[in-house]
Symmetry: C2
Subunit: 353 residues, 2 copies
């Protein structure tokens, strides 16, 4: 049996610096260093991690390769890196990005809208400025400085990849790079925030917003502080990244007309259902002359609407272009593996095809 | 505004040989040589066509570039190339592929299941054997000799691309190449033949198979001889190409368990609807031990089924992998532009990124 088109058997042979080691970072590490034998095409990747830097759980640095399995075990045992580890270090993300020797920065810290993407933005600037590749699941860099960073990457012969910023690891940006050559994207629409979609689905069935949020938190896809989702900021950041990357826009999340779901009542949700519709938080980007505009707004969509089939925690994106008829990508039931996989696909995209 | 990720502004600077100049071939030529000004990212591609060879409408050869606009006009005026043209030639597809000087063969002849993919297969072998790239919308090469041709391409430093063989130009193979690195595809399921899907949708509404086929022919997506579609051969060829390219299978359409829709009655279709379901011709590929199996079969799918939303002429494909949760690609309302676009995306994929 010959290797199918999707399989990359090249070795990475790269040194990575991780900044951020939360759920996504640890899952990437678990897949690549603990679970790799379960995944036939991930054997022998040849990735070594020379540093893992967190904001408040310590840092590990070892130019010959951090003991990632031990690091994961420490997190499980004591919720942080052990200060007793010979690899333990005291270093900030910015300093690590600026001073350590690595080939790719894996930036997995948390998006801060209020701080306009910092400190992630600085980490990425340091790396790209030194000609190091960047792979990130953090929406900050592409939502606040997309074109500056792409240009910085180009100038320094590095790549800036961010597949997991939208729809987890479901191919969106890699698809656009390879499958839409020569097309001009004219419009985007989708349901991109799973917490609000889950909550709206539950409210249709008579559950209150508060109870639905609690269920989403219990099932693990709503944050402890759900306001970032409920107020539409996560959705706004995602449509910003999409508009910047696929439509050449220069937006930030602050440029997106934004509506959340905090004022939706059970009655609103049920009224929509009685009218044969669903209340959805829809993200849109479109062209107006030479500008690109974007918004996040509550809409009642009919049963037959292309975006209607998405319930609970899935996501969906419709892409319109000048040449190809509108097409739709749907993500079903994502777990943490999906977000982690987006990072892994980006890492594998750094090797020549 | 900076060029978005999807845009390729590189020049192709390539010489192409076209074999086949039917609806798809002429639409590719129209887009690239007559309509290009309408498509912002197709300007200045630098593609020259050094030959166009058809089975029964003549051939044109000109090493400095065939006058494609004139050729299209002749087809519109007299339904074939003019024997009076100074570029008119008498040459077979195989001889053209073997003897002319070109960089890429654009193989757009018609699939013949009965002849096991010939003569397309020979055209592609000639080209790849000489180290020339191949771009094809014909399912024959990938359905009958996928791995032989990939290996031939690899050995000779050429590429073998076939985006338009399944779901027209909607990114499927380019997506798998760039967006599923390190994943192992474990299963595929989809509705891939638009004629049968259209006919089944119409039969739900009480139209007879014969009338529905006539409507599909009138709307331009059923062939004059619809048996290739109705008997499930087109669907079988498509799931074969997908299984070969995405799952490493070595199938031909003759290895696919195949069911068509010729025996479906209006009553069957309406009984499904009354039971809250839809009768669909579903393509599937799955792994059994180290083998890959595939089938095309009628199934009653529930309203909520991931493949149910596809009505009339759309297509849909669900991809399951070992790492990434199942995801779905949906093509809405394709026209000839979509098939032609898949060929153009393949052509643009031949330039370094």
């Amino acid at each position: 049996m010959v290797a199918p088109e999707s399989e990359t058997l090249t070795k990475l042979s790269m040194k990575a610096l991780f900044i951020g080691f939360g759920n996504v970072g640890r899952k990437v590490a678990e897949i690549l260093f603990e679970e790799w034998e379960k995944f036939e095409n991930l054997k022998d990747l040849g990735l070594s991690v020379i540093g893992i830097v967190t904001k408040s759980h310590g840092a590990l640095v070892n130019q010959s390769g951090v003991d990632v399995v031990k690091a994961l075990q420490d997190f499980r045992d004591i919720g942080r890196f052990s200060t007793l580890s010979p690899e333990f270090a005291t270093i900030s993300g910015v300093n690590a990005a600026r001073r350590l020797e690595y080939d790719v920065l894996v930036e997995l810290s948390t998006l801060s809208i209020q701080q306009r993407g910092e400190p992630a933005l600085s980490h990425v600037r340091e790396a790209l400025g030194r000609g190091k590749h960047v792979v990130t699941a953090n929406k900050a860099p592409a939502a606040f400085a997309y074109h500056e960073l792409r240009e910085l990457a180009r100038k320094n012969g590095a790549r800036f990849l961010h597949e997991s910023t939208v729809m987890d690891g479901t191919p969106v940006f890699s698809l656009a790079r390879s499958g839409l050559k020569g097309c001009r994207v004219t419009g985007l629409s989708g349901i991109l925030n799973s917490t609000t979609n889950f909550v709206l689905s539950r409210m249709e069935q008579g559950e209150s917003l508060e109870d639905a949020v609690k269920t989403a938190q219990k099932e693990g896809f709503a944050e402890a502080d759900p306001r970032h989702d409920l107020e539409g900021w996560d959705a706004a950041a995602k449509i910003t990244v999409l508009a910047n990357a696929l439509m050449g826009a220069s937006l930030t999340p602050f440029d997106v007309e934004r509506q959340g779901i905090t004022r939706v009542s059970i009655q609103d949700a049920q009224r929509a259902v009685q009218a044969g519709k669903h209340l959805k938080l829809i993200c849109k980007a479109w062209r107006e002359g030479s500008n690109v505009r974007a918004k996040v707004a509550l809409e009642e969509v009919e049963h037959g609407h292309p975006l209607a089939p998405i319930h609970e925690s899935g996501s969906i994106l419709m892409i319109e272009t000048d040449l190809l008829a509108p097409f739709i990508i749907t993500e079903t039931d994502p777990t943490l593996y999906d977000t982690a996989y987006g990072v892994i696909n980006d890492l594998l995209s750094l090797t020549p095809a």
